[in-house]
Symmetry: C2
Subunit: 339 residues, 2 copies
C-alpha cells in the first residue's frame, strides 16, 4: 500500500501521516490502518480480516513491451498476496478492477485474467468481483484482497526489538535480474531473432520476475509457529523495506553484506546491488528474538531462510562489509523503468 | 461492479459469464460472486462479508471541468456505499486507490480526500488503506468497500417473484438533472459571470448529482424488517437496472409511467426520460411480496418509497402509460458524458 506516494507530498511517510490526520477517530474495529502492508480489522468474535489494495500501472509496474499479459495478471495478484503473506494471514477473496485502453485485444484480456485466475486457484483464493472501465491509453489494475488471521495474531512490521535477529526468505534481487535479462533481450531481438535455451540461472531470474510466488505458506507457518516479532514483504528492495521496518519499530539494524543471498550468475558487486535495491522480490523479511532462532529451519518447503543481521537500539540502518567496515544502508528503492 | 463491460465483449452479461467460466469451482465460502451489486462471502460463524469495488475515471464518471474535487471524492465512495446499501448491509471498511496525473495540485488532492473522509465519517466507515500511483494524464479512483450482514441475510437482485410489487426510493433522474444544470452553467459562464441564487429544485438536483447520499440506513432497515424479495441500487438508470433485476430473477415487469417519481421543475416528458434513463441516482429499487406491502411506509427518514409497478411471469419489461398503452422499456443506460 502506498508504494508510490502522491508526488506533491515530500515522501510516503508525509502522505500517510497527512492521510491519518484526516480521520483521527478510528473505530475500535481497526487494529492497524493506513501504513502497514495491509489493514487489520475486526469481524466477528475470533477473526481479524486483513485488507489490502495494490495498483499495477502500465509504464510504472509493467510494460506491454516486456511483460506478457499472463504475467501482468499474475504479478498484479501476487503483489496483494504478498501483503497478506507478510502478516501471516490466509488469502481468501479478491476483487479485480481493470481499466483498459479501447484498442487492447481480446486475447490480451483473456491471457491477463488467466494469469490472475491461475494464481488465485493455486492459493485457493476466490475472485468474487471488481469493476471494469475503458481509458484512452494505458492499462491499470487495482487488486483488492481480503484475508483472514486469528484475532490479534496478524504480524506487523512494527514489532522488531533490539537484539532480534533479521531473516530473509529466498534470494533477493532475482526479480530485478530477470528484468535486466528481459530488457537485454528486447534490445537484442531488434537485431537478431536467434534464440538460445535459458540456463537454469536465467530461467530462475525470469520466473522470479514474471511469475513470482508470494510466500503465503511460509508466512502462515511462521505466524503459527509464533516465531517473528515483526514481518513484512520485500516489495521495494531490502534497503527500502528494512528501513521502513526499523522506522515503524523505532529501532536500527546492522546487516552483513556477505550474508545477503543475491542472484547468482552475475558479478558479486552487481549481485549485492540487485539484492539490496532490486524491487518486487516478494520475499519475506522478518525478525525473531534470539530464544526463537533455534526453531527456524534452514529452509521451508524449498525456500531458504537466511539470517542477515540483527536489530540494534541505535536508529541507524548499517551495512557491514566483509572487512567489518560499516556504511549507512540508504533506502534506494528500485525504480523499475528508469534504467 | 462491471458497470462498463470491457469493450471487446458484446455485453456486460457476456463478460460476466466469461469471467465466471474462468473459475467455475467457487469455494463454499462464496454465496454470490461476480455479477450482483457486491459479492457476499462467509467469514466466521454468524457473519457474511459484503465486498464491492467501483472505479471512478476522469472523462467517464467525472470531469474536472464540472466536478469539484470534493464531489469527486464523495461520489467515488458513494458508488460503493450504495452497493452495500442495496444488499441491506452495514458498510465498515474502505480502501481507496488513486492514480493521479503528476500535474494535479495538492489542493485538489486534499479536497478529494476530504470528500471521501466526510462521507466515510457520516456512515461510520473506516478508511483503512489503499494504494497511490502517478499516471500521465487522467485521474482514476478505485474504491473497495467491505460491509457486513447477518449470515445468509444479504439481499440479492435475483429474488423477485411474479406478483411482487416494485418500489423505488426517492426521486429518480435528479442526478441527471443536476448534471444538465452543471453543463448549462459551464457553457453560460463563458459568456457571463452573473450568478443567480439557486431555487430549491435546482439546489436539490445539484446536490443529488454532486453529493448523493447512498441509502444505507434505508437498505438496512428494509433488510432487517424482512420486506424485500429482491433489492439493488439504481446506478445506471431505472430502465437498465430494472431489466437487470428481471433478468437475474427470471421474470418480467410492468411499470406505470405516471407513478415514477421524476425531477420537478422540468417538462413532464423530459422528467420521465431523466427518471427512466438518468444514471447515478443511487436510490434503491426493490420488490416486495403483496402480503408485506402493508409494512412499507410512505417514507423512511424523509425518503419517499413509491410503488411503481409489479413483477410478471412473462419475461417482458413493459412501460404502461396514462392511457394504459404498453411499450417495451428498453434499457437505455445514461451515458453521462456523451451529451
Amino acid at each position: 500500500m502506498y508504494t508510490t506516494a502522491v508526488a506533491m507530498f515530500q515522501s510516503e511517510g508525509e502522505f500517510v501521516k497527512w492521510l491519518r490526520g484526516l480521520a483521527p477517530e478510528k473505530s475500535k474495529r481497526v487494529r492497524t490502518g493506513v501504513g502497514d502492508d495491509a489493514a487489520v480489522v475486526r469481524v466477528g468474535r475470533d477473526r481479524d480480516l486483513i485488507l489490502t489494495a495494490d495498483l499495477s500501472i502500465e509504464g510504472v509496474h509493467f510494460t506491454s513491451r516486456l511483460h506478457p499479459a499472463r504475467s501482468v495478471g499474475h504479478r498484479a495478484l501476487a503483489r496483494s498476496l504478498s501483503d497478506i503473506a507478510a502478516m501471516g494471514g490466509v488469502p481468501r477473496f479478491a476483487l479485480i478492477s481493470v481499466v483498459l485502453p479501447r484498442a487492447i485485444s481480446r486475447a490480451w484480456v483473456e491471457e491477463f485474467y488467466r494469469g490472475v485466475m491461475d494464481l488465485a486457484r493455486h492459493f485457493q483464493v476466490d475472485v468474487v468481483g471488481g469493476d471494469t472501465s475503458i481509458a484512452r491509453r494505458i492499462a491499470m489494475i487495482d487488486v483488492t484482497l481480503a484475508g483472514e488471521a486469528a484475532r490479534g495474531k496478524g504480524l506487523l512490521r512494527s514489532g522488531a526489538r533490539p537484539g532480534d535477529m533479521i531473516y530473509v526468505s529466498g534470494r533477493l534481487g532475482q526479480s530485478a535480474r530477470g528484468l535486466e535479462i528481459l530488457k537485454l533481450r528486447a534490445r537484442k531481438s531488434k537485431r537478431t531473432l536467434k534464440k538460445q535455451p535459458d540456463n537454469s540461472e536465467t530461467a530462475a531470474a525470469l520466473k522470479a520476475h514474471l511469475y513470482p510466488e508470494p510466500r503465503c505458506h511460509l508466512g502462515r507457518w511462521l505466524q503459527t509457529a509464533g516465531i517473528p516479532s515483526a514481518m513484512m514483504d520485500i516489495s521495494d528492495g531490502l534497503s527500502t523495506d528494512l528501513t521502513r521496518m526499523c522506522e515503524a519499530s523505532g529501532v536500527g539494524a546492522k546487516v552483513d553484506a556477505g550474508r545477503i543471498p543475491g542472484p547468482s550468475g552475475v558479478a558479486p558487486e552487481h549481485s549485492l546491488g540487485l539484492a539490496l535495491n532490486g524491487g518486487e522480490d516478494y520475499e519475506l523479511l522478518f525478525t525473531a528474538p534470539k530464544r526463537k532462532v533455534s526453531k527456524i529451519p534452514r529452509s521451508y518447503r524449498g525456500i531458504s531462510l537466511r539470517c542477515i543481521g540483527r536489530i540494534c537500539r541505535s536508529r541507524d540502518v548499517l551495512l557491514v562489509d566483509q572487512d567489518g567496515r560499516q556504511s549507512p544502508l540508504a533506502p534506494e528503492g528500485y525504480d523499475h523503468f528508469s534504467k
